[in-house]
Amino acid sequence: MAPLRLVVVERHKSVINLRSRAGRRYSVVTKGEDMGPRSILSKRLPDWNVGEEVMVFAEALPVCYDPEIPKTPPSKRWRPLWFEWLDFLAEPPLDVVGKELAKGDLSSVAGLGPGLTPAGDDLLAGYMAATKLRGETVPAQIFPKMDTTTWLSFDILRDAFAGLVWRRIKDLCDALAGEGVSLLEESLTSCLAMGHTSGRAYLAGMALGFEA
């Protein structure tokens, strides 16, 4: 199989994000919980600099988890818990998203709010994931236009629309379908640790998706 040619876009402490010619994100991560679709888990980050073009062999992409959203709906037992997640949007800095949402149009939150991936997009991704989890089709009209947001965020939404999620979210989906408190607690804690506000916005989106 031909190697992938990727450009290094961002380098963080434990994650490198790369972009393919087709505009898709690929990542190298050093922690299992940071795995997303199209990511490589590596002991150390390679010595790549931002802007550099690198070659990755497709065979090097190990399958550590299945990024596909399961089609097992969440247990009703957790309903009071996801009810709380909407409250995240009442507090700063997520209240900008909350206020927009309260006006009534879900798609208008795209690109809104703080964060490396804007909180509004995290919310949309959560909404899509929850809709998929319920076994339903995500309405195409909530998918934002590319120019309303960052490429990384757009890429996450593309994945979510296709039913692919990050490792943490996958774990959360599994936990919500089950009855175990400690598994759920663990995966929620892990989701809340995503970005500064990403986790909370994502959970709020999931709550909306479950209740739609």
Binding site: F83, D87, P92, E185, T189, L192
Partner: protein, 508 residues
């Protein structure tokens, strides 16, 4: 030059204990004169203004946190940063930072569907409504919070009674259910005794005194101090007593509290008389006394414990009581070589311990002044200025507004010990150290440090007498704590009643 800064943290809520623990950390920083963390309520803004902070241009509401610091201009920024860092992982918190916490009662119940009680310790103005919700959800309630209006207490307790639920409190600091300590509680063994107590250190003292006699407690139900008032009617006292009388594992019932309103006392005693179990009733300072089986009426805490222990061990309660009072007589011999001239100054962290000490001292050496006196004419005009024999309860509201309870931090009480030691009219300084869950990790250390400093100035002029209310299994360890005090030259007694008597005999 001293500078000041107030930093507003928007939408950040923390409980008052966490805030005070963080403030204490900041105060120990080099160059920091004063530090406080408060929710931006109107009352707190007023307090800050009174402390000399400029608050006129602060834009904040009651859900915002204020970090106020005064000190060396170069360290203020660092102090605020330190506070924000500490709040992320507050002192004393052992659980994982960022751990998921449900935000609603329904959410919490979905995580712990088998929950059967709520322990509520938020500010009094919200606590009543939360308790209401918990009762609606079918939970028993322990209300640690104080400042809950009595009307609310009455409506909560009536509602609970209808549902067969227990409301312990408001202002219930201690309870034990099936050997589990809730709030401030000692790690005593379990056994055949069940307690119902107004709350607080009275309960702790009897719990500890029973443990000293090798007798365990299975349940100790707190009621809050106002339960025995006419208006409340002793609802929790009655429900608790009935439950203990029905409980097959309980062989001896013990009641502890200040004397109830007459109608309430009658109701409670009638319940006990109808039961088939012996009951030791310790209404501290009450008029009734004597033994009318199955009721054994006592007037002091250790006496109640001694009688209950005899009942549990199948021994004669009357002679147990007699022996105890004989042992108190022998304290005179112990006091003989310790004789001092002057007044007693008692500095208490436990409210009931302070009350009992006043009662004993009044009987032996005459009236005692206090901020929480036995009789209103003995009330101190200024709680910070002693006169004659004085005993101060540092757990009273006036001392705990914006400060940690003295059982959690004795700094303020230790300062008083130092200043009292400089008073030439003082002969004995008497104090308590209360151990157990929720309490300071080393109260004896805090007090011993002050005693050592004071002795350097006052020499042997003053005798120091203390009581450590705790057991070895407590997180602080009673033997360890005693040793710390004794090494500082403090005479440590085995009970609160004993300490109070010894102090009286030293000056009497």
């Amino acid at each position: 030059m001293l500078l000041q800064r107030i930093h507003v943290e928007k939408g950040a809520y923390y409980d008052s204990v966490t805030l005070m623990l963080v403030a204490r950390e900041l105060q120990s920083m080099e160059g920091i004169e004063e530090a406080s963390l408060n929710m931006a309520t109107e009352a707190n803004l007023k307090i800050l203004a009174a402390a000399g902070f400029g608050v006129s241009d602060i834009q904040a509401g009651q859900s915002d946190l204020l970090i106020a610091v005064r000190g060396d201009g170069s360290v203020l920024e660092a102090a605020i940063e330190r506070a924000r860092e500490l709040l992320k992982n507050p002192p004393g918190r052992k659980s994982t930072p960022g751990e998921y916490r449900p935000k609603s009662l329904d959410g919490a119940l979905s995580m712990l569907p088998e929950a059967n009680m709520a322990l509520i310790s938020i500010a009094g103005r919200y606590a009543g409504d939360e308790a209401d919700k918990c009762l609606d959800a079918g939970l028993h309630v322990m209300l640690y919070s104080d400042n809950v209006p009595i009307e609310k207490e009455i409506s909560l307790k009536n509602k609970a009674k209808e549902k067969g639920l227990l409301v312990m409190g408001p202002d219930c600091g201690t309870a034990v259910i099936r050997g589990v300590g809730l709030g401030f509680a000692n790690a005593c063994p379990t056994g055949p005794v069940g307690l119902v107590a107004a709350a607080g250190t009275g309960l702790q003292e009897v719990h500890v005194q029973l443990a000293r006699r090798g007798v365990g407690v299975l349940h100790a139900i707190g009621t809050g101090g106002r339960d025995v008032k006419e208006e409340v009617g002793g609802i929790t006292f009655s429900m608790g007593s009935e439950a203990l009388l029905c409980d097959e594992e309980i062989r001896v019932v013990v009641l502890i509290g200040k004397p109830p309103a007459p109608s309430v006392e009658e109701r409670i005693l009638r319940i006990l008389e109808g039961g088939k179990k012996p009951a030791a009733v310790g209404f501290i300072g009450g008029k009734a006394s004597g033994d009318k089986p199955p009721l054994y009426l006592c007037r002091e805490l250790e006496e109640t414990a001694a009688v209950a222990a005899a009942l549990a061990n199948g021994k004669d309660p009357s002679s147990a009581r007699e022996e105890l009072f004989k042992s108190y007589e022998r304290l005179k011999e112990k006091a003989a070589p310790m004789k001092r001239k002057g007044f007693i100054r008692g500095l208490y962290s436990g409210g009931t311990l302070c009350y009992e000490a006043q009662l004993i001292a009044t009987g032996l050496i005459g009236s005692v002044y206090s901020n929480a006196p036995l009789a209103s004419e003995m009330k101190l005009a200024d709680s910070l200025k002693s006169r004659g024999h004085t005993m101060v309860d540092y757990g009273e509201d006036e001392f705990t507004q914006g400060r940690l309870h003295p059982m959690m931090d004795s700094t303020f009480r230790a300062e008083r010990l130092l200043s009292e030691s400089q008073d030439p009219d003082v002969g004995v300084i008497l104090f308590d150290c209360v151990l157990g869950y929720g309490c300071h990790p080393n109260p004896a250390g805090q007090m011993a440090e002050a005693v050592e400093k004071a002795r350097k100035k006052a020499g042997g002029r003053i005798a120091y007498v203390a009581y450590v209310c705790g057991v070895d299994a407590d997180p602080q360890g009673a033997t360890e704590q005693r040793k710390i005090l004794e090494e500082a030259g403090v005479t440590v007694c085995d009970s609160n009643a004993e300490a109070a008597r010894l102090a009286c005999y030293i000056v009497g």
